[in-house]
Symmetry: C3
Subunit: 677 residues, 3 copies
């Protein structure tokens, strides 16, 4: 339980009373009650208010807010206010503002605006976090610490350059090791002095869009930036811990946000929290995957849905409204996948600046007679009824999908073979194929323990870090099923190619050799032709983008290419390895293939779907706790759907209705079915 002061699914969100006055505060109080709001995230952007100059701190407004919320029965997620620095600080200490990709010094403005290696920023953010912790550590409203806000962004200033050199010295020891790791003999880039190393930006090695002349440098810069921002988090977290010993600390993450290695970050966070903002075209299975990834950051521990919009966003191109029922449906999707909170950005809509068209629980009209508020209040009532039933319940997947930020960085920095390779899209193809069949999966790191899984999938495992190949071999030898794809096993952790034939360190496990890699524009297809039926797979399927030209070296060939000069070469292979099997998918396949292939592999391993058959657009997920099992059925269709739930009788926690064998789920409806295990 995040904090036993509030033993239920937390319900509330970002709240900025400092933008308002007593009249609105009174209305907030009344409407929070109507909506069942029991938690508020405050102080996110109040640095300038808390500290009007170098030496003055003024927490009067915050004292009052904390007290008022407590009196109203609303707990507090207390942010440290360091998400954007004050204007006076930028004016007096230019080191706090960033330098951009083209070497331009930024001025005061926006957010994500502090250089992570700025001495001033580090000094004052540490001080602020410490003062807040000291002051509020025992406040009865306090539920959780929320450090800064949505960390992200790069800086290219001289302080960062100097710290990068220190970071490199720590990582590599000698300049020779750096030259070796980056292969600097290429293009005569040998460094003879640490000071010759400059940051890889638009004036040195890089171009916009992850284009780099030296992948090794650019990759290390990304590691360094993720580490630098994490240090900022740690500085504040440590300052808090000096005073507040037990209240958990988090910061809000952003799903598959590319710039930060969240697996590293999660080690330093007490609980993972994240902000869920799907766009108009995000598939629901991608949102599900991202929830699972956030759950995976701390090995399956429940997480917090820190932000979502109750209605619409403002920063998309087209900010469509969440259709009636969708906010509730997506809230339960989060809970189904491990969230123990349902929180919004934000409680009351701002009246000025760039987020004034972002939806809120309390809209500009200011009263409760809105569709949005009614839906919020209905959900609040339901969550109140659910109490602590679901808290700390976990997921028990037998399939693990590897997701690795460093692999993503390296792959997206790659010059060739194609500009179209998108890591998230390729991982999602595997996830989606399981999702549609109601098969549970965990999203796991490349460093994860594989032994708890029956099947481990590592899509496009371009970078193989030390120990990964050995671990995968051991897992497979012990009976596991390992799956990987084209463009895997290519480089080591510094982006140097593993010589001797692709897929490098994974070659033995997979029993193949990839001689060449063809790349074609999207829309130019080859075919995967099955040699004989495998599960439901039979006949031929479309594939595109990249095509490994592989030779079986011990592996069995399950399918071949159907055309072009590599017609007849293997497109899908399986290698028996010890007690297990290792599959290689040599190209980017269509969704029919993916579904058939993963269905067959799961069947082979006895990994069962959660329900016998799943209508299109219906999602299932399960959380388990103290021997109780909760099956979530989420109908993402506008129309109702009939879902066969199997032989066990179950009871819907929300409606109390008993389901026997099949349930009719209304359009955008949700069931939480408890079964006897």
């Amino acid at each position: 339980m995040i904090n036993d002061k509030l033993p239920k699914i937390w319900y509330g969100g970002d709240y900025n009373p400092e933008q308002w006055g007593p009249e609105e505060w009174k209305e907030d109080q009344r409407m929070f009650k109507l909506a069942g709001i029991d938690v508020a995230t405050i102080n996110v952007f109040s640095w300038a208010l808390n500290q009007p100059d170098e030496d003055t701190y003024d927490f009067g407004w915050l004292d009052e807010t904390m007290d008022r919320l407590h009196k109203d029965g609303v707990g507090v997620v207390l942010a440290t206010s360091t998400g954007a620095h004050p204007a006076w600080m930028a004016k007096r200490h230019p080191d706090v503002t960033r330098v951009d990709f083209y070497g331009r010094k930024r001025k005061f403005g926006g957010r994500h605006n502090s250089c992570p290696n700025s001495p001033t920023y580090r000094k004052y953010s540490r001080l602020m976090a410490g003062k807040l912790a000291e002051r509020y550590k025992d406040h009865p409203a306090l539920l959780l610490w929320h450090v800064s806000n949505e960390y992200g962004g790069f800086c290219y200033c001289d302080n960062c350059a100097a710290e990068f050199r220190v970071w490199l010295q720590k990582r590599y020891g000698t300049l020779d090791a750096v030259n070796e790791a980056w292969n600097t003999r290429f293009w005569g880039h040998t460094f003879y002095d640490w000071d010759e190393i400059v940051l890889p930006d638009g004036l040195s090695e890089e171009g916009e869009g992850n284009v780099s002349a030296f992948q090794g440098i650019s990759l290390d810069y990304r590691r360094f930036m993720s580490d630098s921002l994490l240090e900022c988090y740690n500085i504040e977290a440590e300052a808090i811990r000096e005073h507040s010993k037990d209240v958990p600390i988090t910061t809000n993450l952003m799903g598959t946000f590319p710039l930060l290695n969240y697996f590293d970050w999660a080690k330093h966070m007490d609980i993972v929290s994240w902000d869920n903002y799907p766009s108009l075209t995000t598939p629901v299975s991608e949102t599900a995957m991202t929830h699972d990834l956030m759950r995976g950051l701390k090995h399956g521990a429940p997480f917090m849905l820190m932000e979502q919009t109750p209605s619409q966003q403002n920063w998309q191109a087209y900010n469509s409204l969440k259709r009636p029922g969708v906010m509730r449906l997506w809230s339960y999707q989060a809970v189904a996948r491990g969230a123990d909170t349902v929180m919004f950005f934000q409680m009351r809509r701002s009246k000025g600046a760039c987020e004034k068209f972002h939806g809120a629980v309390i809209e500009h009209v200011g009263h409760e007679n809105t569709r949005v508020f009614r839906e919020v209040a209905q959900l609040g009532e339901e969550l109140g009824r659910l109490g602590d039933t679901l808290l700390d319940a976990v997921t028990e997947a037998k399939v693990g999908i590897v997701y690795d930020w460093e692999n993503r960085w390296a792959m997206e920095l790659s010059s060739g073979p194609t500009v179209e390779l998108n890591y998230v899209r390729e991982v999602h193809k595997f996830y989606d194929a399981l999702f549609k069949q109601g098969i549970e999966a965990d999203m796991i790191s490349a460093q994860a323990d594989f032994s708890k899984y029956d099947i481990v999938i590592a899509p496009v495992m371009y970078m193989v870090k030390p120990g990964f190949a050995e671990k995968s071999e051991a897992f497979t030898a012990a009976g596991g099923t390992f799956i990987t794809t084209f463009f895997s096993g290519i480089v080591n952790e510094t982006d140097l190619v593993t010589l001797g034939g692709y897929p490098g360190e994974l070659r033995k496990l997979l029993g193949i050799w990839a001689e060449e890699i063809d790349a074609l524009p999207l829309g130019q297809y080859n075919e995967i032709v099955m040699k004989q039926p495998y599960g439901k797979l039979t006949g031929s399927y479309k594939c595109e983008m990249l095509f490994d030209l592989i030779h079986a070296e011990g592996a069995e060939v399950l399918a071949e290419y159907g055309s072009d000069f590599y017609k007849g070469m293997p497109a899908l292979t399986v290698n028996r390895f010890g007690e297990g099997k290792a599959y290689y998918v040599a190209t980017s396949a269509d969704s029919d293939f993916m579904e058939g292939f993963l269905g067959a592999v799961c069947a082979e391993k006895g990994v069962q779907p959660l329900v016998p058959e799943l209508p299109a657009g219906v999602e299932v997920a399960r959380r388990v706790k103290d021997g109780r099992s909760f099956l979530f059925v989420l109908n993402h269709n506008a129309e109702s759907a009939t879902v066969r739930t199997g032989d066990v009788k179950r009871r819907d926690l929300l409606s109390g209705v008993t389901v026997d064998g099949a349930a009719e789920v209304p359009g955008r409806g949700v069931l939480i079915l408890e079964e006897a295990e």
Copy 2:
């Protein structure tokens, strides 16, 4: 009359003899006469020539030019030559060049190149204007002063930043008021010192394409820049007035150019003039609207067509030739809508630099035996025959369409609900629906007196400035018809939302409440379904982009949405308010709806079209003077068209032919029909 020295429609244009020598001057003289040219705009880009260094002025060439033109019977529009500063000035006084959106100091080059707050630029441009006025104030050729050229562009230098702070102090008085106006509590942007305020550029609050984190700051910066450039105009105008008391002063505007608030500017100009450069795809009704807007800047006073190309442009992607007859047709379009001059850029084509492929009266071939020259000469002959008949004639529209630059800035800076909202396009939809039915409209400012109109349309009136709502209510209460649309009444003049329910200050007048605003990608349609026929409106019409979800609060519902979850909610309402009616169009409708709707509203108010029925592609407009009425019929089709002109007999000023009931207008032909009132 602009200047009674030349009591006819002026005919001529930009003339740069300083690029040529005596041989060409002689030819110019001969060919001007052949073409009926009687006015030349000179000295537009001769600063470097007039002032070769800090202290030297040399107007010898200009004396000669003025005298020569006068001798040849050509009047002079005398520009002040400050449209581009000299190279020596940029070299010696770097403050004259601008700093761009990314903080980069510009070097010498291009035009629009002077910082509007540069002390050097202001000093030398004032001196230049004064010297010219002193020298030529009594020159017999002088007809008009033309200050600088096509003002525009932004600067982000330190001088501008300092002046911005002064401007803010004047506007807001206190820093508290600034913080309040900009809602700086959002993202902790509170300013404690004026010097903390920086310009909103690509290094602070903005991104390219009107993207801003703080709309209030960006909006004020746009106001400040418009004011700064206007100050540059005023500095020169005042320097001229010290010497030249009566000759009118103008500068050439650019239609719907986004950066300058021309309604403000026009207050300081003696006559409005503008440069008309439609692109290959500009609808003729948009050009007509822009002429009407230019006429509206000074409440209906005649204006000058200062520039148009006789043949083709050079800076479009595809510079197609004006087809035979089109130059004449579009010249009369300007006159029909209030222009008392027809002028070209330019008289003789340059032989070098970027405008050498811009059309001219005298082409590179140098003689008169060209299609372009023949068409120019024919028009010159006609304008000579028209004499002063049309001068000072006015338009008597009963429909006013509000066009507001500040509203446009605020709306286009908005983050959400859609990136597709284009102010000019939405205004034009209304204009076009009237245009196609031959109904006259004035383009008016938000500050205009509404009482002379029967119908006032304020499309997408996102920003409601002080007094606007009261004025609209009074207008409607007194029997007027007021029309506005979705996304209106949202913010006040500093872009702060009017709380309590959209459309804010307009809510009472309209009798509705807009609870939510849906946004969908272009091409995803809903339908406007009429509850019963209204005028010709019946059945259903397509609508897209933004969809206000409104509730009638007293208003009558004329049409509803046809699909999606807001099917059945109002899409078109009318509210009886005092003696009048207020209509609300809740979404962006198709052109069939627009035409039917405005046709019905006009019929209801007894606003008559100029002709009983208008064939597609034919434009009508009317100017009235001393009890005489001139009906312009402009056939934009390549083929001839028959236009019914009603029961009155009329005479075509151009051909002398009498029209009785109907006229056959040749392809691209023009009639100017005088009727007895």
Copy 3:
């Protein structure tokens, strides 16, 4: 012969042993032998290795490499290593790095990274070239000097600005002449002091994509940059010549690379060499044209194919594999068109940085059992068998096509009449029409001697430099056929329009006057309607983009426009001029027209195709030497094709088979048919 030490078609390529160790060197040795490799380009990017600091030079690794290669029978193309400067140099001497288009000082990184006017770069590159020449001038492995690598790129630093002024003083003498040449009276740009002239960049006169306010300035800057880089080449070449008197010197060019005037460069090079990297969509006839252009740089002398990929590239969007047979086919295409070497980038694939996914003879797998290596080895064996048979053989075309870099620069800088005009595409349309009919062409400069040709084609000869018109007239008067097109004869060498009617200086020769130029978006067509059949031309053909509205002034009209207001005006004319004819194609015609038109013109002049009839996708070319004639037949189709080769019996050099009248050429197959003359 390039160097009589190696009297055969050289076979090898770029080799970077400094990126590897003894183990790989040994394998290289073994595999070079297997593949018939006899030449290696080394030391291309080893500056940092050769010179670790200001004063230290260390050629130990190079001594060993040279000796080892020699021992193994591999000759050396010795690069000077100055293609990218060392990191220490950038650190200690910032003048070596460039300033970019927006005035941003670049840091160390990438390649093409040295300012061409940097005193430091010039000093150290001269020293390096001299030291290398002194050390290796007599090394038995040395075959050729290779200065720097793929020169290119612009710099906008202060050193360049200062040198630009010196360059201008040399070119123009006086500032008055500069002002005149650039027409600076336009926009008041008159310069009164040399120091007022700034480089035309994104902060002064230019915008991205060849957009300029002053074409004359921008054009001279391009000339200056081409000259500045050429000076860098000359500095090194002269330093080499001080020691190495006879070994030829080259640098690798890049085909139609836009930035350098290669006709100027070739005058200073002993032999032309170039890097051939067609993209996925480059037509084979464009590659052929580029080979012919490279051959044309030194008036038909054999050239070197310095780089091509054996398999795939890495820097295209989609790096597809060369299909089986294609590498061999394209290698022979180079030979067919004049190459006396077949060389690859690169011998062994790098294991790190941005080119690690660029194909190589020795792939990452490291052994010879790859498709790529087998194809390389097969070709190596064939080239060995061919010996010196083809060396120094030349081409005997009777058609010359003018290609002019300055014309391209000026045309692409032009503002108007269309953004779509692409010089290479227009030239290629003519080349392709000949290519498809098996008619040989030379690509020649505007300064070339026309007298050896029967037909000279100068497509879109926008800029007519001094002497060109006179030469073209003399050529035609003497019986030649001259062909040019729309948008020709417009400006002189400083981009000033030739007044008095287009096509200016070419008007007399062509017997026409182009009164206007219409421009329409691509996809909007007019038609070329033949007045009577001409050769196979009959009926009507599509044309687009630009449309000259011409009048025949003595010329005969062969075809007219089919629509729009210029229907019936001439679209194709021919003017009898002395003993010859001058054709004018007034618009951009479709490929059917082009083929028919050039077929007819060639037939008229008795210019014969190499074979009686050519199947689609089959290329023919001929080289001639010592009375022997070699007809290359290259089948670019995947399927076999039958080619009629005429009455003479011929023998295929590759297979030894005799061909009598017709040959079946396999898919992607090659014949080299020797005939008795």
